[in-house]
């Protein structure tokens, strides 16, 4: 162990004498770990921006009158929130930050298969982001993040072209990441790392990449067609020009339903890692979790019509889409049951990442089950375009993806930075987020069921109390998001040195130093065991040795 083949310096270490060189060493890096950090900064910036838009929406909704902004400004505000959160936060968040950082480490590789393509994907992301931001600065866009035609292609007087160009470019960033992950997983696994020894996070990334590569081009084309109709009046979607608006919805949801899985599958991967590590047990039903990711990825391509039950789509299509939507519940439930079974008789430690993981399971179950309600045509017709739908997808996206993203950031923070964060504040903020989240979005289920439509800012008096509750919850949630930013930043200076494996976890990423050297491993590791190879007595021993204040 003492001899080193490669210089043992953390990837964050810099020996650049001038500021200019330092900037260049970051902006032209091809190191997957540095690119992950670039993504981390950019994505969190967009998250805060999207959150700011949400704040204005929630403030406006405190009163039944439209007194803070006009209807037009309100339209632009929720569109900004949606576009930024979906395209520039949720879709890239876990793959581009955690996936980029971890995939080569987990595979025992020195980098991704195409390091320059990886850097290009970051630039494409930034470039797309600049387009979307400039659209916002120049007055915003009022179509909603779904860009439904013919409003977007003909009637809207806002910056539709700029925004969809931004989303279009961002799509290529996704595709670049997906291609890179697929090639890396196929080609660069360490000796002995067979497919069924892969960490479940890698399986989740693989399934996500499959969806990205197959679905994203379709939304690219759909958005391009909107632009063509808008710019040159070619009749594609606008009935006045001989087009069909439903064609847009088909093309858009062919991507955007699978895009839900681009957002949630990586979260499943993170949760599998956290649950196993903090229960000190091998995961229950490894193959089932791995294959359920693949099943969700594939079935996800067959259900898009459940967004179109009231759109004058054929009722027979709706029937089939409804049925297949029910099927997706099976692989999703398999995962939840397997995580729960992993907890059984485990030695559970309630560290910050585990709090997020447990929160995820509860919230995702609510989000998923209300998804089944919405998959039933009869119920969906009743609650279409109400706050019920809004609550449902926020339970999946915020309660699912963001909880997993934060859990993952906390779990791998010591690996990324080499330092530990403040555990007490970590726990407190996780609880604040859980409470704030439920306070924000649970009332919206009730609101929606009572008939409060989404995307309206003037509403009947009787809904006010629930809206005020929701806005108050959003404030709590915002506090919960700001606290981690503070203590994570502080940890960079004052955090305890983490050591290589602070959680006593399995997995190749914990076998190298924290932070890892530029080329990840001194020598390429050889894998001889399954993933999560905790000895059978690990949990029992851990529990026996537990005492108040013990590290795990």
């Amino acid at each position: 162990m003492a001899t080193t083949a490669l210089p043992q310096r953390g990837y964050l270490h810099d020996d650049t004498p001038h500021l200019g060189e330092w900037i260049r060493s970051w902006l032209f890096t091809v190191d997957h770990k540095r690119i992950a950090i670039l993504y981390l900064l950019a994505i969190n910036f967009f998250f805060l921006l999207g959150g700011l838009a949400a704040t204005f929406v929630r403030i406006e909704l405190i009163t039944p009158q439209g007194d803070l902004m006009s209807s037009d400004v309100y339209n632009r505000m929720f569109t900004l929130h949606g576009v930024i959160m979906i395209f520039f936060f949720l879709i890239p968040a876990i793959p581009a930050v955690l996936g980029n950082f971890l995939l080569p480490l987990m595979l025992g590789a020195r980098d991704l298969a195409f390091p320059r393509l990886n850097l290009l994907s970051w630039y494409l992301y930034m470039f797309g982001g600049i387009f979307a931001l400039s659209a916002a600065v120049l007055g915003g866009v009022d179509t909603g993040w779904t860009f439904y035609t013919p409003f977007s292609s003909t009637y809207s007087n806002s910056n539709v072209i700029l925004t969809i160009t931004g989303a279009f470019i961002m799509g290529f960033s996704s595709i670049a990441t997906g291609v890179n992950f697929i090639a890396t997983t196929h080609k660069m696994r360490a000796p002995g790392l067979t497919w069924f020894r892969l960490p479940l996070f890698v399986w989740a990334m693989y399934a996500t990449s499959l969806v990205i590569v197959l679905a994203t081009p379709v939304v690219g084309i759909a958005l391009l067609l909107v632009a063509i109709e808008r710019l040159w009046g070619v009749g594609i979607f606008d009935p006045a020009l001989g087009g069909d608006p439903l064609l847009f919805q088909h093309l858009f949801w062919f991507y955007s339903h699978p895009a839900v899985y681009i957002m949630i599958l990586p979260a499943f991967g993170v949760i599998s890692e956290l649950i196993s590590t903090f229960s000190r047990k091998r995961i229950f039903g490894y193959e089932f979790i791995a294959f359920s990711s693949m099943a969700i990825a594939i079935l996800g391509f067959l259900v898009w019509g459940h967004h179109m039950f009231v759109s004058s789509q054929s009722v027979y299509s709706s029937l089939v889409f409804s049925f297949i939507t029910m099927l997706i519940a099976i692989p999703s439930a398999i995962k939840v049951f397997n995580w729960t079974a992993t907890l059984y008789k485990g030695s559970i430690s309630y560290r910050t990442p585990m709090l997020y993981a447990l929160g995820f399971i509860g919230l995702f179950v609510i989000g998923g089950l209300t998804g089944i309600f919405l998959g039933v045509v009869a119920i969906d017709i009743h609650v279409t375009d109400t706050y019920f739908v809004v609550a449902h997808f926020h339970y999946v996206m915020v309660g699912g993806t963001i909880m997993a993203y934060l859990g993952g950031i906390h779990f791998w923070w010591p690996k990324m930075t080499g330092r530990m964060y403040n555990e007490i504040w970590g726990g407190i903020s996780a609880l604040i987020i859980f409470v704030g989240f439920n306070m924000t979005f649970f009332p919206q289920f009730v609101l929606g069921y009572l008939g409060m439509p989404r995307r309206y800012h003037v509403y009947p008096e009787e809904f006010q109390i629930l809206h005020v509750l929701s806005s108050a919850g959003a404030t709590v949630l915002a506090v919960g998001f700001i606290i981690p930013i503070i203590y994570l930043m502080l940890s960079l200076k004052t955090g305890r040195i983490a050591g290589d494996n602070p959680w006593d976890a399995t997995g190749l990423e914990w076998k190298t130093t924290s932070p890892p050297p530029t080329h990840n491993f001194e020598a390429i590791p050889v894998v001889t065991t399954e993933a999560y190879a905790y000895p059978p007595e690990a949990a029992a021993r851990d529990a026996a040795e537990w005492r108040p204040g013990s590290p795990l």
Binding site: M188, W195, V213, L214, L246, G305, Q313, V315
Partner: protein, 127 residues
Amino acid sequence: MAKTSTTAGHGAHGDGAHAEHAAHAHISRGTYYKVFAALMVLMALTVGAWWIEGIIALPRLLGVAIAMAIAIAKTTLIILYFMHVKVSERATQLYAGAAFVGFAIMVIITMADYFARGWPPPPGPLP
């Protein structure tokens, strides 16, 4: 199999890298010309078919079917030869196939909706 270790560095390890096609298989220049010629013939066929269909007043549906068949033949040639899928690894071929299947799903299900949209709605609740 040992001769495939030309790929330097990290590509060499990983048991998944079973040497399916030694290094890079090639498509000869002659094949490219042949495929190009075939594409030109198919293009002539497309135009010719359109012409003849105009003269003998073929049903529109049949005309579209013929045009589609020729177009699919052209696409297949381009994917197999110009995009190297024919001499690529199994995984690449699998993904090319998956993209095709995905596209087919999109077209077929969307068209099924158009086809069924005019159908009478199912009867309402029982009296």
